[in-house]
Symmetry: C2
Subunit: 142 residues, 2 copies
DNA sequence: CTGAATGCAAAAGCTTTGCACTAGG
DNA sequence: CCTAGTGCAAAGCTTTTGCATTCAG
Protein backbone atom coordinates (compact mmCIF):
# COMPACT_ATOMS: atom_id res chain seq x y z
CA UNK A 1 0.00 0.00 0.00
CA UNK A 2 0.96 3.68 -0.05
CA UNK A 3 2.22 3.78 -3.61
CA UNK A 4 3.60 7.30 -3.47
CA UNK A 5 5.86 6.75 -6.47
CA UNK A 6 5.76 9.67 -8.86
CA UNK A 7 3.00 11.33 -6.92
CA UNK A 8 3.06 15.07 -6.33
CA UNK A 9 1.49 16.83 -3.40
CA UNK A 10 -0.26 19.67 -5.12
CA UNK A 11 -2.15 22.41 -3.42
CA UNK A 12 -5.40 20.91 -4.71
CA UNK A 13 -4.62 17.46 -3.40
CA UNK A 14 -3.69 18.61 0.07
CA UNK A 15 -6.77 20.81 0.34
CA UNK A 16 -9.01 17.96 -0.78
CA UNK A 17 -7.43 15.68 1.79
CA UNK A 18 -7.64 18.27 4.53
CA UNK A 19 -11.27 19.05 3.78
CA UNK A 20 -12.18 15.37 3.56
CA UNK A 21 -10.60 14.72 6.93
CA UNK A 22 -12.42 17.61 8.54
CA UNK A 23 -15.86 16.57 7.26
CA UNK A 24 -17.48 13.94 9.45
CA UNK A 25 -20.31 13.06 7.11
CA UNK A 26 -18.23 10.99 4.64
CA UNK A 27 -19.03 13.29 1.73
CA UNK A 28 -19.68 12.51 -1.90
CA UNK A 29 -17.27 13.89 -4.49
CA UNK A 30 -19.62 16.74 -5.19
CA UNK A 31 -20.05 17.71 -1.56
CA UNK A 32 -16.29 17.72 -1.22
CA UNK A 33 -15.94 19.78 -4.39
CA UNK A 34 -18.25 22.42 -2.97
CA UNK A 35 -16.32 22.50 0.29
CA UNK A 36 -12.91 22.77 -1.36
CA UNK A 37 -14.10 25.38 -3.81
CA UNK A 38 -14.73 27.76 -0.95
CA UNK A 39 -10.99 27.87 -0.45
CA UNK A 40 -9.84 27.30 -4.02
CA UNK A 41 -12.54 28.71 -6.31
CA UNK A 42 -10.92 27.63 -9.56
CA UNK A 43 -10.67 23.92 -8.71
CA UNK A 44 -12.60 21.64 -11.04
CA UNK A 45 -14.81 18.71 -10.20
CA UNK A 46 -12.65 16.53 -12.42
CA UNK A 47 -9.64 17.30 -10.27
CA UNK A 48 -11.55 16.29 -7.17
CA UNK A 49 -12.50 12.97 -8.76
CA UNK A 50 -8.98 12.34 -10.01
CA UNK A 51 -7.49 13.02 -6.61
CA UNK A 52 -10.02 10.94 -4.76
CA UNK A 53 -9.15 8.08 -7.05
CA UNK A 54 -5.41 8.49 -6.58
CA UNK A 55 -5.66 8.91 -2.81
CA UNK A 56 -7.87 5.88 -2.53
CA UNK A 57 -5.56 3.80 -4.71
CA UNK A 58 -2.69 4.86 -2.47
CA UNK A 59 -4.60 3.73 0.57
CA UNK A 60 -4.65 7.23 2.02
CA UNK A 61 -8.44 7.38 2.02
CA UNK A 62 -11.33 4.91 1.69
CA UNK A 63 -14.39 4.72 -0.45
CA UNK A 64 -17.82 3.51 0.55
CA UNK A 65 -20.76 2.90 -1.70
CA UNK A 66 -23.79 5.02 -1.09
CA UNK A 67 -27.20 3.37 -0.87
CA UNK A 68 -28.18 5.06 -4.07
CA UNK A 69 -25.19 4.30 -6.19
CA UNK A 70 -23.15 7.38 -5.52
CA UNK A 71 -19.74 7.05 -3.89
CA UNK A 72 -18.78 8.44 -0.52
CA UNK A 73 -15.30 9.02 0.83
CA UNK A 74 -13.66 8.55 4.19
CA UNK A 75 -10.51 10.43 5.12
CA UNK A 76 -9.74 8.06 7.98
CA UNK A 77 -7.99 4.94 6.81
CA UNK A 78 -7.72 3.37 10.24
CA UNK A 79 -10.04 0.46 10.92
CA UNK A 80 -13.37 1.66 12.21
CA UNK A 81 -17.07 1.14 11.62
CA UNK A 82 -19.96 3.18 10.37
CA UNK A 83 -23.56 4.14 11.10
CA UNK A 84 -25.59 5.01 8.07
CA UNK A 85 -28.71 7.19 8.07
CA UNK A 86 -31.40 5.51 5.99
CA UNK A 87 -33.13 8.84 5.47
CA UNK A 88 -30.53 11.38 4.39
CA UNK A 89 -27.84 8.80 3.62
CA UNK A 90 -25.13 10.48 5.62
CA UNK A 91 -22.56 8.18 7.18
CA UNK A 92 -20.95 8.72 10.56
CA UNK A 93 -18.18 6.93 12.38
CA UNK A 94 -19.15 4.53 15.09
CA UNK A 95 -17.21 5.44 18.22
CA UNK A 96 -15.23 2.50 19.51
CA UNK A 97 -15.43 -0.90 17.91
CA UNK A 98 -18.32 -3.31 17.98
CA UNK A 99 -17.44 -6.83 19.06
CA UNK A 100 -18.36 -9.27 16.35
CA UNK A 101 -18.20 -12.99 16.85
CA UNK A 102 -18.32 -14.66 13.52
CA UNK A 103 -19.35 -18.23 13.26
CA UNK A 104 -16.14 -19.27 11.55
CA UNK A 105 -17.43 -22.57 10.25
CA UNK A 106 -19.77 -20.62 8.03
CA UNK A 107 -16.89 -19.59 5.88
CA UNK A 108 -16.25 -23.18 5.05
CA UNK A 109 -19.66 -23.42 3.49
CA UNK A 110 -18.78 -20.83 0.89
CA UNK A 111 -16.41 -21.61 -1.90
CA UNK A 112 -15.10 -18.09 -1.77
CA UNK A 113 -11.66 -17.35 -0.39
CA UNK A 114 -12.72 -15.15 2.51
CA UNK A 115 -10.57 -12.10 3.18
CA UNK A 116 -12.60 -10.15 5.68
CA UNK A 117 -15.97 -8.75 6.48
CA UNK A 118 -17.84 -5.48 6.50
CA UNK A 119 -20.32 -4.42 9.10
CA UNK A 120 -22.27 -1.25 9.68
CA UNK A 121 -25.21 -0.08 11.73
CA UNK A 122 -28.29 1.34 10.09
CA UNK A 123 -30.46 3.96 11.67
CA UNK A 124 -31.78 7.46 11.60
CA UNK A 125 -29.50 10.36 12.37
CA UNK A 126 -30.46 12.93 15.00
CA UNK A 127 -31.42 15.55 12.41
CA UNK A 128 -33.74 13.24 10.45
CA UNK A 129 -35.13 11.78 13.66
CA UNK A 130 -36.08 15.27 14.80
CA UNK A 131 -37.59 16.06 11.43
CA UNK A 132 -40.10 13.21 11.59
CA UNK A 133 -41.04 12.26 15.09
CA UNK A 134 -44.36 10.46 14.56
CA UNK A 135 -43.31 7.53 12.36
CA UNK A 136 -43.53 3.77 12.41
CA UNK A 137 -40.54 2.16 14.07
CA UNK A 138 -39.86 -0.80 11.79
CA UNK A 139 -36.78 -2.96 12.05
CA UNK A 140 -34.49 -2.55 9.10
CA UNK A 141 -33.42 -5.82 7.59
CA UNK A 142 -30.36 -7.16 5.78
CA UNK B 1 -44.85 -3.52 3.16
CA UNK B 2 -46.28 -5.27 0.09
CA UNK B 3 -48.08 -2.29 -1.34
CA UNK B 4 -49.80 -4.15 -4.14
CA UNK B 5 -52.46 -1.48 -4.57
CA UNK B 6 -53.12 -0.74 -8.20
CA UNK B 7 -50.26 -2.90 -9.31
CA UNK B 8 -50.61 -5.16 -12.33
CA UNK B 9 -48.74 -8.37 -12.88
CA UNK B 10 -47.62 -7.93 -16.45
CA UNK B 11 -45.76 -10.45 -18.49
CA UNK B 12 -42.64 -8.29 -18.28
CA UNK B 13 -42.83 -7.99 -14.53
CA UNK B 14 -43.27 -11.67 -13.89
CA UNK B 15 -40.44 -12.59 -16.25
CA UNK B 16 -38.14 -10.06 -14.58
CA UNK B 17 -38.99 -11.47 -11.18
CA UNK B 18 -38.60 -15.05 -12.33
CA UNK B 19 -35.24 -14.34 -13.95
CA UNK B 20 -34.00 -12.38 -10.95
CA UNK B 21 -34.91 -15.24 -8.64
CA UNK B 22 -33.14 -17.78 -10.80
CA UNK B 23 -29.90 -15.81 -11.03
CA UNK B 24 -27.66 -16.38 -8.04
CA UNK B 25 -25.20 -13.58 -8.77
CA UNK B 26 -27.42 -10.71 -7.64
CA UNK B 27 -27.39 -9.10 -11.06
CA UNK B 28 -27.30 -5.46 -12.07
CA UNK B 29 -30.27 -4.05 -13.98
CA UNK B 30 -28.39 -4.47 -17.22
CA UNK B 31 -27.43 -8.09 -16.57
CA UNK B 32 -31.04 -8.79 -15.80
CA UNK B 33 -32.16 -6.96 -18.93
CA UNK B 34 -29.90 -9.16 -21.04
CA UNK B 35 -31.25 -12.29 -19.38
CA UNK B 36 -34.91 -11.33 -19.76
CA UNK B 37 -34.43 -10.18 -23.33
CA UNK B 38 -33.58 -13.72 -24.30
CA UNK B 39 -37.19 -14.61 -23.54
CA UNK B 40 -38.85 -11.32 -24.38
CA UNK B 41 -36.75 -9.65 -27.08
CA UNK B 42 -38.76 -6.44 -27.26
CA UNK B 43 -38.49 -5.56 -23.58
CA UNK B 44 -36.73 -2.28 -22.88
CA UNK B 45 -34.13 -1.45 -20.27
CA UNK B 46 -36.40 1.28 -18.96
CA UNK B 47 -39.07 -1.30 -18.21
CA UNK B 48 -36.55 -3.37 -16.28
CA UNK B 49 -35.56 -0.37 -14.20
CA UNK B 50 -39.15 0.66 -13.58
CA UNK B 51 -40.12 -2.83 -12.48
CA UNK B 52 -37.11 -3.25 -10.25
CA UNK B 53 -38.05 -0.01 -8.58
CA UNK B 54 -41.67 -1.03 -8.11
CA UNK B 55 -40.82 -4.52 -6.88
CA UNK B 56 -38.30 -3.15 -4.45
CA UNK B 57 -40.71 -0.52 -3.17
CA UNK B 58 -43.26 -3.31 -2.66
CA UNK B 59 -40.73 -5.27 -0.65
CA UNK B 60 -40.78 -8.14 -3.11
CA UNK B 61 -37.09 -7.79 -3.91
CA UNK B 62 -34.07 -6.08 -2.35
CA UNK B 63 -31.41 -3.76 -3.64
CA UNK B 64 -27.78 -3.73 -2.71
CA UNK B 65 -25.21 -1.15 -3.64
CA UNK B 66 -22.37 -2.30 -5.80
CA UNK B 67 -18.81 -1.41 -4.81
CA UNK B 68 -18.57 0.80 -7.86
CA UNK B 69 -21.78 2.71 -7.56
CA UNK B 70 -24.00 0.48 -9.66
CA UNK B 71 -27.01 -1.18 -8.10
CA UNK B 72 -27.53 -4.91 -7.70
CA UNK B 73 -30.77 -6.73 -7.03
CA UNK B 74 -31.74 -9.68 -4.88
CA UNK B 75 -34.87 -11.70 -5.60
CA UNK B 76 -34.86 -13.24 -2.14
CA UNK B 77 -36.44 -10.96 0.43
CA UNK B 78 -35.95 -13.33 3.34
CA UNK B 79 -33.24 -12.37 5.81
CA UNK B 80 -29.88 -13.69 4.72
CA UNK B 81 -26.30 -12.55 4.28
CA UNK B 82 -23.91 -12.05 1.42
CA UNK B 83 -20.38 -12.74 0.25
CA UNK B 84 -19.00 -10.21 -2.18
CA UNK B 85 -16.20 -10.87 -4.65
CA UNK B 86 -13.74 -7.99 -4.54
CA UNK B 87 -12.51 -8.85 -8.02
CA UNK B 88 -15.53 -9.33 -10.27
CA UNK B 89 -17.99 -7.75 -7.83
CA UNK B 90 -20.49 -10.58 -7.99
CA UNK B 91 -22.47 -11.20 -4.82
CA UNK B 92 -23.52 -14.62 -3.55
CA UNK B 93 -25.71 -15.71 -0.71
CA UNK B 94 -24.05 -16.92 2.42
CA UNK B 95 -25.52 -20.30 3.33
CA UNK B 96 -26.94 -20.28 6.85
CA UNK B 97 -26.63 -17.30 9.12
CA UNK B 98 -23.51 -15.99 10.76
CA UNK B 99 -23.75 -15.48 14.50
CA UNK B 100 -23.03 -11.89 15.31
CA UNK B 101 -22.68 -10.69 18.85
CA UNK B 102 -23.00 -6.97 18.86
CA UNK B 103 -21.69 -5.04 21.77
CA UNK B 104 -25.04 -3.40 22.46
CA UNK B 105 -23.67 -0.64 24.63
CA UNK B 106 -21.93 0.71 21.57
CA UNK B 107 -25.20 1.86 20.19
CA UNK B 108 -25.63 4.15 23.15
CA UNK B 109 -22.55 6.05 22.11
CA UNK B 110 -24.13 7.05 18.84
CA UNK B 111 -26.88 9.62 18.73
CA UNK B 112 -28.52 7.75 15.88
CA UNK B 113 -31.71 5.83 16.43
CA UNK B 114 -30.40 2.37 15.55
CA UNK B 115 -32.71 0.16 13.51
CA UNK B 116 -30.49 -2.71 12.51
CA UNK B 117 -27.20 -3.67 11.02
CA UNK B 118 -25.72 -4.94 7.81
CA UNK B 119 -22.95 -7.47 7.54
CA UNK B 120 -21.28 -9.18 4.66
CA UNK B 121 -18.19 -11.21 3.96
CA UNK B 122 -15.61 -10.08 1.46
CA UNK B 123 -13.51 -12.42 -0.57
CA UNK B 124 -12.60 -13.80 -3.92
CA UNK B 125 -15.02 -16.03 -5.76
CA UNK B 126 -13.91 -19.44 -7.09
CA UNK B 127 -13.71 -18.20 -10.68
CA UNK B 128 -11.54 -15.19 -9.89
CA UNK B 129 -9.46 -17.21 -7.48
CA UNK B 130 -8.68 -19.68 -10.24
CA UNK B 131 -7.90 -16.89 -12.66
CA UNK B 132 -5.09 -15.46 -10.52
CA UNK B 133 -3.43 -18.03 -8.35
CA UNK B 134 -0.10 -16.36 -7.61
CA UNK B 135 -1.20 -13.20 -5.75
CA UNK B 136 -0.55 -11.52 -2.43
CA UNK B 137 -3.01 -12.59 0.22
CA UNK B 138 -3.77 -9.33 1.98
CA UNK B 139 -6.50 -8.97 4.58
CA UNK B 140 -9.27 -6.76 3.38
CA UNK B 141 -10.26 -4.11 5.88
CA UNK B 142 -13.45 -2.31 6.88
C1' DC C 1 13.46 20.81 -17.10
C1' DT C 2 10.02 16.93 -17.20
C1' DG C 3 6.03 14.77 -16.75
C1' DA C 4 2.35 14.59 -13.06
C1' DA C 5 -1.53 17.29 -12.25
C1' DT C 6 -4.90 20.88 -13.54
C1' DG C 7 -9.04 23.24 -15.75
C1' DC C 8 -12.22 22.83 -19.10
C1' DA C 9 -15.34 20.58 -21.76
C1' DA C 10 -16.83 16.66 -23.92
C1' DA C 11 -18.04 11.87 -23.38
C1' DA C 12 -19.28 7.82 -21.02
C1' DG C 13 -21.83 4.99 -17.81
C1' DC C 14 -26.09 4.13 -15.14
C1' DT C 15 -30.76 5.47 -14.15
C1' DT C 16 -34.92 8.18 -14.70
C1' DT C 17 -38.56 10.28 -17.33
C1' DG C 18 -41.98 12.15 -20.98
C1' DC C 19 -45.06 10.54 -24.32
C1' DA C 20 -48.10 8.06 -27.21
C1' DC C 21 -49.58 3.44 -27.36
C1' DT C 22 -50.80 -1.22 -25.25
C1' DA C 23 -52.95 -4.32 -22.33
C1' DG C 24 -54.20 -6.09 -17.44
C1' DG C 25 -58.05 -6.47 -14.35
C1' DC D 1 -63.30 0.64 -20.12
C1' DC D 2 -59.64 2.93 -17.49
C1' DT D 3 -55.34 3.63 -16.16
C1' DA D 4 -50.98 1.05 -14.97
C1' DG D 5 -47.44 -0.39 -17.68
C1' DT D 6 -44.67 -0.51 -22.05
C1' DG D 7 -41.19 0.79 -25.74
C1' DC D 8 -38.57 4.32 -27.34
C1' DA D 9 -35.81 8.09 -27.03
C1' DA D 10 -34.33 11.97 -24.70
C1' DA D 11 -32.64 13.85 -20.45
C1' DG D 12 -30.34 13.61 -15.83
C1' DC D 13 -26.73 12.42 -12.74
C1' DT D 14 -22.36 10.88 -11.42
C1' DT D 15 -17.89 9.81 -12.96
C1' DT D 16 -14.22 9.48 -16.45
C1' DT D 17 -11.29 11.24 -20.06
C1' DG D 18 -8.73 14.00 -23.88
C1' DC D 19 -6.03 17.97 -24.39
C1' DA D 20 -3.38 22.05 -23.95
C1' DT D 21 -1.36 24.30 -20.08
C1' DT D 22 0.61 24.68 -15.44
C1' DC D 23 3.60 23.68 -11.77
C1' DA D 24 5.91 20.39 -8.22
C1' DG D 25 10.13 18.29 -7.46
Amino acid sequence: MADQSKTRMTNQRSLILEELRSLKSHPTADELFIAVRRRLPRISLGTVYRNLQILSKQGTIRTLPDTKGQMRFDGDNARHYHVRCIKCRRVDDLPGRPVVHFEREREGKTNYRILGFKIELLGICPECNEREKPERQGQVRQ
